[in-house]
């Protein structure tokens, strides 16, 4: 079970990482931030899976922090790009 959860974590990581191509391509700045936000959500899922696979419950705290931080980064993008 732990192996399966870890494999799923790797799979989800690969999936959202492919989405990072949008950072290089996406014509609008919002597209780039979208990809980072998806990476944040994927990262939360990966961390929750790793926490269950390794049994280290503190990793759930990292997932919580990551969720807050990726939201904050997107909000910072919107606030700073509006200021023009």
């Amino acid at each position: 079970m732990a192996e399966f959860l870890l494999a799923c974590a790797g799979f989800i990581l690969a999936a959202v990482a492919v989405g990072l191509v949008r950072v290089l391509r996406g014509p609008a700045d919002a597209d780039r931030m979208l990809a980072a936000q998806l990476l944040g959500t994927g990262g939360v899922a990966v961390l929750l899976l790793v926490a269950a696979a390794t049994g280290v419950s503190a990793v759930v705290d990292v997932a919580l922090t990551l969720a807050l931080v990726s939201t904050f980064a997107s909000a910072a993008f919107v606030a700073t790009s509006d200021g023009e």
Partner: protein
């Protein structure tokens, strides 16, 4: 090859790929977002290396550095075309690449040539843990074994803030940093700034509180607190305090002062600087961490805000900054 190995390898390759893409990105904004993505991936890498405290710090600090970089990218947007035209020549970039490659090679050689098993103080740190009554060896290292390093680091962060403040033009000294933001009606950003801070504050305080026995720490906790305040500031719900305010300055120095006071008291009750008497280690450490959390949160928030850019009105200047100032001079 086990699954864990495959995931580690994939993560490492991903970090390298994103880093290369960030460095070679065309636009400033793409590079800033690439940096944010790199930070998120590094937090995952720290978790894979079983360094949960470092992962928390990496994730939390990624918020503030992300905000700084995104703000800078937005600021530089109008001048970006001219900047691209002024790119340094191939020779300079080649020299920079060579320097980076040399540093990377040197690091790789050092890490790969470590004896097996690598020298480590972890067993010694774990052996003395019961004397500190803490359950988290990282907190023990930060606050007990190497407390002097932590104290000096906190003073350095404060000095960095002073350096940022020194960039203010003379007439603005003592004023409020950053631009003023007005709250817009029915704004989703204002809603987010009302929804997230209560959760973020609880999470930040929780990280500080739990650092005694579980991974956490005063630094990631207070970074989250600073980030929540900055969120409210971005939405226009609060305004930055003027840097001449007494309460601000007290909050900034409270942490280092408490730390230093406990350190000097160590001469009295345990005949060494920063030594804790038996049985009092944990409450003293928690007390220091509480004061530090306030100081670090305020310091980091003011660091991101930047140097003062708006003067106080003459009335408020005369009143020595105890009443809230009303007039904000527009930028000339």
């Amino acid at each position: 090859m086990t699954v864990a190995w495959a995931v580690d390898l994939g993560l490492a390759a991903l970090i390298v790929a994103v880093a290369v893409a960030t460095v070679t990105a065309r636009g400033t904004f793409a590079a800033a977002v690439g940096f944010v993505a790199c930070g998120l991936l590094l937090a995952l890498a720290w978790v894979q290396l079983a360094a949960v405290d470092v992962a928390l710090t990496e994730a939390a600090i990624g918020a503030l550095t992300g905000m700084l970089l995104l703000g800078a990218a937005a600021h530089l947007h109008p001048t970006e075309a001219g900047m691209v035209a002024e790119r340094p020549g191939v020779a300079l970039r080649g020299a920079a690449t060579l320097l980076c490659a040399v540093v990377t090679g040197a690091l790789a050689i050092v890490v790969l040539s470590l004896p097996d098993p690598a020298p480590s103080l972890a067993p010694a740190a774990a052996a003395h843990l019961p004397a500190t009554e803490l359950g988290n060896p990282v907190t023990a290292v930060l606050m007990a074994y190497r407390a002097i390093d932590t104290l000096v680091e906190k003073v350095v962060v404060l000095v960095a803030l002073l350096a940022v403040w020194s960039l203010a033009p003379d007439p603005r000294w003592g004023g409020r940093p950053g631009a003023s933001r007005r709250r817009q009606r029915d704004d989703a950003l204002a809603f987010l700034a009302q929804l997230l801070p209560p959760i973020g504050i609880v999470a930040g305080v929780y990280l500080v509180w739990t650092s005694a026995d579980h991974p956490g720490g005063a630094f990631p906790g207070s970074t989250l607190l600073a980030a929540m305040w900055l969120l409210a500031r971005m939405a226009g719900l609060v305004d930055a305090p003027a840097v001449s305010r007494r309460w601000l300055r007290i909050a900034l120095v409270a942490g280092p002062v408490v730390f230093l006071a406990v350190g000097l008291a160590g001469f009295a009750w345990a005949d060494r600087f920063l030594a804790y008497p038996d049985g009092w280690a944990k409450p003293l450490i928690l007390g220091i961490e509480a004061a530090m959390t306030v100081s670090i949160a305020v310091t980091l928030a003011m660091l991101v805000e930047g140097p003062p850019e708006r003067s106080l009105s003459p009335d408020a200047q005369r009143a020595a900054g105890e009443r809230s100032s009303s007039g904000l001079e527009p930028e000339p």
